[in-house]
Structures are given as C-alpha cells and as structure tokens.
C-alpha cells in the first residue's frame, strides 16, 4: 500500500508553530502529572487534597479549560514531589571554536620537526 504523509504535509504548509508547541507542552505536562499520579496510586481527588484545593478546581487545571499559571504548576510539583518544568543550569563558561589561525600549517610542521629531532638525538653528559 502506498504510504502518504497527509498530516505532516498539512502541518508543514498550514500549521501554526505556536499551536503545535502549545499542544506539545500541554501533552508533556499532563502526561507527567498523569504518570506521577499512577506511580503514587493517586486520583485527581488525592492530588486536590495534597494541594489544599477542591477536586473540581484541580480537574479544571488538568482539563485544558484552564490556562495553567506558573504558580499552579509549582503547587502540583510540590504535591507530586516532581519537576514538571526543568530549569537549565547556568553555564559558567563554554569552549568556543574560533577557527584556524592563518599559517598554522607552518607552525605545526616546525613543531613536528622539533619533536622528531629531539626524540632522535643522543646526548652525552660531561662528567
């Protein structure tokens, strides 16, 4: 059977990257909450109790009807003892390649010659 890519083609031609990213992140956060609830053997009511919220409010949070705030995500993180959003560590330094120095070939050749000559030389020590 001929394979098609009708959805991928539509998204490439017509898709809004913002919507696509919203769906991706929304799914990722809800999937993490869902997996953590399963691991803990909790339901939505247990999560609500742990956060001091009403079950209906928590259902709303997880429903997509509610635009989750950072504060509500953090409340869920603390109740579930997990990180729903990871913060990248701050980099103190980073090695950057600045390119080759012009004439480096000559330098490398001299370095190689010197290394070879010093390896081959025999020195007698004056007593």
């Amino acid at each position: 059977m001929k394979k098609n890519s009708i959805i991928s083609d539509w998204l490439a031609q017509n898709g809004d990257p913002e919507i696509d990213q919203f769906v991706e992140k929304n799914l990722a956060i809800t999937e993490k909450v869902r997996n953590k609830l399963i691991l803990k053997g909790w339901n939505n009511g247990d999560l609500a109790k742990a956060m001091g919220k009403s079950p209906s409010e928590v259902s709303k949070w997880l429903s997509g009807m509610h635009n989750l705030t950072l504060k509500s995500i953090i409340k869920m993180e603390r109740a579930l003892e997990t990180e729903l959003i990871h913060c990248e560590p701050i980099k103190e330094f980073e090695y950057v390649f600045l390119g080759m120095i012009h004439g480096a070939d000559d330098f490398n050749k001299k370095k190689a010659d010197y290394t070879a000559s010093s390896e081959m030389s025999e020195y007698s020590l004056a007593m």
């Binding site: 059977m1 959805i7 696509d20 769906v23 799914l27 809800t30 997509g64």
Partner: protein, 179 residues
C-alpha cells in the same frame, strides 16, 4: 444496497500508523482528506489543534484510549479531541470579555484499532449535546460506527492482519470493505 470502501494510508509517525477509508463514490479521496479540506477553510485553528494532537501522540506517546473520547454506538468508535477529565481538549476558545472558555467542538470520528493503528474518518462542528441530535455530525458519527463495525469484522476474518509486533496492519491493496 451494497456500499464499498477502500483503505488508504494517511500518515506514519514514530509510534502510530494512521489510515482512512475512501468510499466508492469518492474514488481516491478519503473521508479524512474531505474533513481536512473542509475545515482548513472553515475551522483552521481547531483543525490545527487536532492535527497537532494526532502528530504528537503519534510521535511520542502512542494512541492510548485516554487520548480519545468514546463515541461508540454500534461499534467501538472514538473521536478527537478527548474528553477524559484529565485530557479535555487542549484547544480553548477564550472569551476575554466573559473570561470563560469553550473546548474545541470540532469532532473527528476515529477507530482506534490498537495503540499503534488508528483509522481517521470524517467529522464536523458539534452543536448539540449528543452526536445523534446534532445535524452537523450525526451522519459522520453514524458512518464512523458503521465503518468501525466493518473494519472490526475484517480483523476477525483476517482480511486485515496485524504485523508481528502489532504495530501496523497488512492487507491486500484491492481489499474492499462491504456493508
């Protein structure tokens, strides 16, 4: 009256294969392509949410039942977006004046054969509490249930077979669905 349809491949993602069916009178244009063509014009953002949802579950999570809503009447039909309390549609039509939101009322009827194979049919904007009472989606809902029943029978008859890993289906190119 006998009706015929053929299966058409729609898209492969990392974890899910999506198919649709072409009714005899529509030749090579599948029900899903009709859905996309219509709602690209009329409901592009809502369609975008559903297609992105299909893509992301296909690429990262598999087609678990939780990601779909149950629309079974005479067969195991489902639909998108989902309605599980944890998985309400993630498309919001937010009204700034009233500060209230509506979920995505665009429906795409589907048959989730397993976590890795899904058939995508047609759908429309749902305007009533039940699909049976909605003039827009009723025919799509009925057709999806009929096609689901026919496809389930094809699996039982081994006209459609699973591959070894049960991650895709195998069938003759000229297989006709009859009802």
């Amino acid at each position: 009256m006998n009706n015929f349809a053929k299966i058409k491949h729609i898209n492969s993602f990392n974890l899910v294969e999506y198919y649709s069916v072409c009714l005899e009178e529509d030749e090579d244009v599948s029900l899903f392509e009709q859905f996309v063509a219509k709602h690209t014009k009329e409901n592009k953002e809502k369609l975008n949410h559903i297609l992105s949802w299909i893509k992301w579950i296909g690429n990262k999570y598999t087609a678990k039942a939780d990601y779909f809503r149950n629309e079974a009447e005479t067969a195991d039909t489902s639909a998108l977006p989902p309605n599980n309390p944890n998985w309400e549609p993630n498309y919001i039509e937010w009204n700034n004046e009233t500060q209230t939101g509506e979920t995505n009322n665009l429906r795409l009827y589907t048959f989730r054969a397993n976590d890795h194979v899904v058939f995508l049919f047609n759908g429309d904007v749902k305007t009533a509490d039940t699909a049976q009472n909605c003039p827009n989606v009723k025919s799509h809902f009925k057709m999806a249930n009929t096609l689901t029943r026919v496809l389930e029978q094809c699996f039982r008859n081994h006209d459609i077979k699973w591959n070894e890993e049960q991650t895709d289906i195998e069938l003759e190119d000229d297989l006709e669905l009859n009802w």
